[in-house]
């Protein structure tokens, strides 16, 4: 009995993945657990293992983006008839995308539904057995002008896309064509870039407010220095201290460690701290899970591991799943303060600037202190101003007097 290999949902909220390459060829013997193909999901590339043993009878999708649940290959016995994967193609698992996506992070949250990245194209393809109906001329014009036929509707017989339809589609956005050739480089979107664009656009629809506070980092810096002295092998950073103290503050202010779902506020028992990192493929946010329960050196070690994997583009799905709060630190670039865009579905993100010696007034005297400016962006649907301010006050006090966190 042949087994259809379907694109797995490797993370909550995963809608589609891009098959990068196959590690086995048609006709190869595969054992359950063997790496079968490389899959590029929203922010990670990983190997997907075979779920059955047998012979790889057919690769239905060599490469490219595939919705979750679509058959990408068939494993069976040698000589066995291959079921038509087209028949099972595009099984429609559509759900209301906005509502489910809001739940897509957090350990005890129900599994979110899949969504086709291009619903109009997908439904038409489904009606035609997976192939878009277009005349050869229409296909050639689309190919030459880089127009995606999936987004067009045909006016020819039986809904066939004819040349005129493509011409019309071309006529609409004339801007790119008008740019002088040679001056403008068109860089195709990677899966990561596409995800960043989609998620941040979604974030822009969230009503947020921002709170700004400055903390005297004298004692926090001393803590970092002492930690490095005690354990030179683990290079503890200000970010680690921030992550640890933010995690402890979140546990004390559970009303901030939340996510907004359409019909509920999801409150998380542990603080999973995402750390925004610049990786070669773009912005990624690896997560240190249970940061509230880790020691500072444990946290620093975990942080170094996941950031390392991010830099090498080897992140695993679990490395980016389940964050409840994000820290974005641009202090090392000398940025004094900034406002971060929310990382949905999380309700809060902390933007961290550079620690600078500033003149401050202490007990009536002007003194110089290493000051750090923090900006907290908060989803107002889930958190009101007072609890957010209370959380930030706690965090400030922890930074200025780390002993208070004990």
């Amino acid at each position: 009995m042949a087994t259809e290999v379907k694109l797995p949902r490797l993370g909550q909220g995963m809608e589609a993945g891009t098959i990068v390459k196959w590690l086995k060829a048609e006709g190869d013997r595969v054992e359950r657990g063997d790496p079968l193909y490389e899959l590029d999901t929203e922010k990670v590339t990983q190997e997907v293992e075979a779920e059955a043993s047998g012979v790889l009878l057919k690769i239905a999708v060599q490469s490219g983006e595939v919705p979750v649940g679509q058959t990408v290959a068939v494993i069976g016995e040698a000589g066995e008839a291959v079921p038509d994967p087209g028949g099972a193609r595009h099984r429609d698992e559509r759900v209301t995308p906005a509502s489910k996506e809001a739940k897509s992070s957090g350990s005890e949250v129900a599994v979110a539904g899949a969504r086709h990245h291009d619903r109009s194209g997908a439904s038409r393809q489904q009606a035609n057995g997976g192939r878009i109906k277009a005349s050869p001329l229409a296909r050639r014009i689309a190919r030459e002008r880089g127009i995606d036929l999936g987004g067009l509707s045909g006016t020819g017989p039986d809904g066939r896309i004819v040349a005129e339809d493509v011409e019309r589609a071309q006529a609409a956005p004339a801007a790119p064509a008008a740019l002088p050739a040679g001056d403008v480089e068109s860089i195709p979107l990677t899966t990561v870039r596409r995800t960043i664009a989609r998620r941040l656009t979604a974030a822009w629809e969230v009503p947020v407010f921002e709170l700004v506070v400055s903390a005297d980092m004298t004692r926090a810096n001393a803590l970092v220095a002492r930690a490095r002295e005690l354990d030179p092998d683990v290079r503890v950073t200000v970010t680690d201290v921030l992550a640890k103290l933010a995690a402890l503050a979140l546990v004390r202010h559970p009303e901030v460690n939340v996510q907004f779902a359409d019909d509920a506020i999801l409150r998380f028992p542990r603080a999973n701290i995402g750390i925004a990192a610049a990786a070669p493929q773009g912005l990624v946010v690896p997560v240190v899970h249970g940061a509230d329960e880790l020691s500072l050196t444990e946290l620093a070690t975990r942080r170094a591991e996941v950031i390392g994997r991010a830099r090498e583009n080897r992140l695993r799905q679990e490395d980016i799943d389940g964050g409840t709060f994000t820290i974005s630190n641009l202090g090392m670039y000398g940025v004094e303060q900034f406002v971060a865009v929310l990382n949905p579905p999380q309700a809060a993100i902390l933007a961290v600037g550079a620690t600078q010696d500033r003149a401050v007034v202490v007990d009536g005297d002007v003194v110089v202190r290493p000051m750090l400016t923090l900006t907290l962006t908060v989803d107002h649907r889930a958190v009101d101003g007072a609890p957010a301010a209370d959380f930030l006050r706690t965090l400030k006090s922890f930074l200025e007097e780390p002993g208070l966190a004990l």
Binding site: P136, R139, P157, V162
Partner: protein
């Protein structure tokens, strides 16, 4: 410029060739004193006599076989098969002999034989006297096949056929014989393998042969009233085929209809459609439509005969379908 009927144009060409060249002679059933059952060879017997205008027994195999022999001996015979339905009786000579000798002798022998024949429906000749069998011969390497649709083309093509060193079958159509047009004073040979653009258009190319050229012109007039601009191309020779002209036209209009009176299935139009999809695939904006007779023996009853063979309305329907305005 003289005005000639299609029938007169064929006769004029035969006479001109016989006057110009002693090697040219004609042979067939009842073609001498009677002038042929369609009257094409009337008057030739009086001018050229029984040596060069020869009646034959009723044996198509013998007619073509004798023609082959004479051709290999250096003559340029033009033999007439009264109805193309009877080409079936000469198949062995045409397919296994005429088409093969030049190849099998390594070029030492030539077969400059012309086979004239006629067919076609529209006058109730019944199932055995009106078939259109041109596609069969396009399938045989070594034969050339022509099907002129106008008096001027009939002259120029028949002349080229007579002077071609290979066997050429020239199909004439019974209903085209009375068609008249102005023709050049002097016969202008038309190279075999050169198509003619009957009328220019921009929206769809109709590739038609024989009587369907005229029915397509009628259909194009109606299409024009609908704002559809039709280009009509007559290949004139089916083998060799002027692929270049056909493909250029389809690349211009992006749509194609093929039309002939022969049965659609396995017809010459299928060959043209295959050539077009291979050569102009990326220029096609619609599937190629085929127009031809229904897959049925030709009916004797006039109304049923008209039902079986393609009419201008069928061409028009195909044109409308390619431009996406079918019913």
């Amino acid at each position: 410029m003289p005005e000639l009927s299609y029938r007169e144009a064929v006769r004029d060409t035969l006479a001109a060739a016989m006057r110009a060249d002693d090697d040219v002679f004609v042979m067939g059933e009842d073609i001498a004193e009677m002038g042929g059952s369609m009257g094409v060879t009337q008057g030739l017997f009086d001018e050229f006599g029984p040596e060069r205008v020869r009646n034959t027994p009723i044996s198509e195999m013998a007619i073509v076989g004798a023609g082959i022999g004479a051709a290999m001996q250096g003559m340029r015979p033009v033999v007439e098969i009264m109805y193309e339905d009877f080409l079936t009786l000469s198949m062995e000579q045409l397919v296994n002999q005429a088409a093969k000798h030049r190849y099998m002798s390594g070029g030492q022998l030539k077969v400059p034989l012309t086979i004239r024949t006629q067919g076609g429906a529209g006058w109730s000749p019944g199932a055995q006297h009106a078939q259109q069998l041109e596609a069969w011969f396009v399938h045989v390497p070594g034969l050339k096949v022509a099907f002129p649709s106008t008096p001027a083309d009939a002259r120029g093509i028949l002349w080229s056929a007579i002077y071609d060193d290979n066997p050429v079958i020239v199909f004439e159509h019974r209903l085209l014989y009375p068609i008249k047009e102005q023709v050049p004073e002097k016969i202008e040979p038309i190279p075999l393998g050169k198509a003619r653009i009957v009328q220019e258009g921009t929206d769809v190319t109709v590739i038609a042969i024989g009587p369907l050229v005229h029915r397509s012109v009628a259909a194009a007039k109606e299409a024009a009233e609908d704002g559809i601009s039709v280009e009509i191309v007559d290949p004139r020779t089916l083998q060799p085929l002027d692929v270049e002209t056909l493909v250029a036209s389809v690349k211009k209009t992006n749509r194609a209809v093929v039309a002939h009176e022969a049965v659609t299935r396995g017809g010459f139009g299928a060959e043209v459609a295959a050539v077009l999809q291979a050569e102009a695939f990326d220029w096609l904006d619609a599937p190629i439509e085929r127009v031809g007779a229904k897959f049925a023996p030709l009916a004797f009853a006039p109304a049923m005969e008209q039902f079986v063979i393609p009419q201008p309305a069928d061409v028009l329907a195909a044109i409308r379908k390619t431009v996406g305005r079918g019913d």
